[in-house]
Symmetry: C2
């Protein structure tokens, strides 16, 4: 694949292409041009071609891209060709929403468990995924070789929960709490910062 590591901006766009390709496949469209992808995504056709060309020559000149072939290529690039096991830490409203969403709408990931500290909800099920005590993170994460944790506990408990996640060998944390997490260098934290996005939006809402 690519010589040097892929730019973040490209990696952010790949899942957008993937979603459109999945839609096209259910509608049995088997060829798509960069121009059409451009109309669907809002990105320019040149940019889309550059993004894809970064990983190889997937298209046919004069024709376009084979939908199913391109979909498989993107799946492989992202790493979604094999099932990815994730966990959700925190069974509050946000945790439940994310769990349900991923179970029902995201075929590429598998939620193996939801963790919480509240004894009242331990044992409950979110669709078919059980809520289990946080103390079991390591056991379950190791057993299912979990790669990613979605962290949705209140900010005050975020660091403690993050420590447990790190101890269990998980190296990617999608952090929805406001806390800045302290983790070892080999762990990658991605902050969702919905409140910060909302505040940025307010700038655009007021200054026009």
């Amino acid at each position: 694949m690519g010589r040097k590591s892929a730019p973040k901006s490209v990696i952010r766009r790949l899942p957008v292409y993937l979603r459109i390709l999945d839609n096209l496949l259910t509608n049995e469209v088997d060829i798509i041009s960069s121009k059409e992808l451009s109309d669907e995504t809002g990105f320019t056709a040149e940019q889309i071609r550059k993004d894809l060309a970064f990983f190889g020559a997937f298209g046919t000149r004069g024709t376009g891209y084979n939908t199913s072939f391109l979909r498989d290529k993107i799946l492989k690039i992202i790493g979604l060709d094999k099932q990815t096991n994730i966990i959700v830490v925190g069974a509050g409203h946000l945790g439940i929403a994310l769990t349900r969403y991923n179970i029902t709408k995201n075929p590429y990931v598998n939620v193996v468990a939801v963790f919480d500290v509240d004894p009242n909800i331990i044992g409950e099920k979110i669709i078919d995924v059980e809520v289990v005590p946080i103390s079991k993170i390591k056991e379950i994460a190791v057993k299912h070789s979990v790669k990613v944790a979605l962290l949705t506990v209140p900010s005050e408990q975020a660091q403690i929960a993050a420590d447990e996640i790190v101890k269990s060998g998980i190296t990617v944390i999608f952090n929805f709490s406001l806390s800045k997490l302290r983790v070892p260098d080999n762990v990658y934290v991605h902050n969702a910062d919905l409140s910060i996005e909302l505040q940025s939006l307010i700038y655009y809402a007021t200054s026009k």
Copy 2:
């Protein structure tokens, strides 16, 4: 203020500074240097100075920035100096989570109502905010001059709900559904795309 319009990247960082300044103020720290802000945020000190300098000279050479003064300047730049009224459309788990978060943790915005179609939850309260029928969006939005809507309904209903939001005069939609919304040019849609962010993360989880 700035001669030409502020870069998006700057606007995205301002709320980050704001959060830290708020923390410092509760701890009664009244001077902060760009170096210290750098340690807190991970952005370089030069970048932070450039960001702030874009809007004016807010610091004191040899000393740093006055915490409270800088906080007030940033509030004014973003437009958070006056209370911003928002609505949440969709009282599912995600809508409830966002509502509660903004009521309890975000002093700069005011959630005036949560909207849903389910008659069973109409009239319920999320903390002190009432759940009302979607048919009332326009009435409430006009009355409270609402600027921003958080859209958390299922994807199938997202376009219908967006149409109602647009009709009510709201010009900024923070879209958490997967649907690409069709709106007039004067309406700004910001997509949260949590599933796309998760898929990008999986790339980083597998390729190292």
